[in-house]
Point group: C2
Chain length 224, copies 2
């Protein structure tokens, strides 16, 4: 890495790259993925648009960096509810945390899963992937979901299940979560109904994982 010092002239512009990203995240939060305008972003940071080009190579590179941040945020939500000692609680809370993330970061969620563009959450900025993203790379938190599903299944069956089965099941769970959350975000459900329906899905899935309905309800009540 050659000399990459900050120029740091009179205006104490500390780490412009981080500040740009920070402000861009705020714009995504406010106006969605399409609401990020380089000129407005640069203006908000007191710089010119060229800075974005030298730092991120252009708008796609910036969005790629934002995208990675989004996955980091989602991962944090998943890690926060990890509870290996109580598999069912872990499972329930992780599903709730997924929805919470999507509602807390609607713009980011749409950027990540809207399917408009395909980024690589693991790659550095300004790298793009042309093919389908492997699940583990794309959604690091997916590993946590697989983990929770596997643990839950092991706990209720008394024996370790087939890893491939766990993986497939976790993907179905992810599909259920993403679907309900996506419909809610897109406006196809009243805010009042949405939570109840999501909890129904949690019940539905957890009982199919072997848990007792009453236990699931108890976890839902405790978490809510």
């Amino acid at each position: 890495m050659p000399n990459r010092r900050n120029l740091a002239t009179e205006p104490p512009r500390e780490d412009l790259a981080a500040r740009l990203l920070e402000e861009a995240e705020a714009l995504v939060r406010r106006d969605g993925p399409d609401g990020v305008a380089l000129r407005e972003l640069a203006r908000a940071c007191g710089s010119s648009t060229m800075a974005i080009y030298t730092l991120y190579g252009g708008k796609p590179g910036l969005m790629q960096a934002l995208y990675a941040i989004g996955f980091a945020r989602l991962h944090a939500y998943a890690l926060a509810v990890e509870e290996r000692a109580a598999p069912l609680r872990w499972m329930v809370r992780q599903m709730l945390a997924y929805r919470r993330f999507a509602l807390d970061h609607t713009g980011m969620y749409r950027l990540m899963f809207g399917g408009e563009k395909r980024f690589s959450p693991t790659g550095r900025h300004s790298q793009f992937v042309s093919l389908a993203v492997p699940v583990e790379d794309a959604y690091p938190a997916f590993a946590a979901l697989v983990d929770a599903v596997g643990t839950c299944l092991t706990h209720h069956r008394g024996a370790a299940p087939d890893p491939a089965e766990v993986q497939d099941l976790a993907f179905l769970v992810w599909g259920q979560m993403h679907g309900l959350v996506g419909l809610e975000i897109a406006g196809y459900a009243d805010a009042a109904d949405a939570l109840g329906r999501y909890e129904s899905a949690v019940r539905f899935i957890c009982t199919n994982l072997g848990a007792a309905a009453a236990d699931v309800d108890a976890e839902l009540a405790a978490a809510g």
Copy 2:
């Protein structure tokens, strides 16, 4: 409705409004929802952008009309597989038809469910809704799904279920379909795995609706 005659000068420009919509749908198919540029659209139709403003009131109005067309297309997919005499077959094929529509009309699907903007599929163009869209309005084909779920449940239980329960269950099914399809479109699943996982969901749901796993597999095989 006052005099709304077609000017129809030398160039036999029959029904410019329909032709604009047709071409716009082609653009959505080619480049996605964001790929619709008024200038290119007008050029393709041999008109100017002003025509779009007089006919649709602007780009939002045009997208609104496109949006309604998308729901009509989806509705057609759902109607094509209606089979009241064989509830399980109906259910299975409707779920497969949903995915088929999404894969056949990826751009349109993203326009409808991408959550970028909220249109009213029933309203005329240039009308927008600010609040959440009631499910029945938003997704006319949802009624068909509710119908199929209800018929399937009645068939396997021998008694008519509670309508509210059917409605909620159908919404979960919709969520599962939308989630898996959305992840597939966004690139979070290999094309090879995607179908298998979707069929797993069909199995999962239909058996939970009371069908025998073998029967579901038979329907899947017959439909595939």
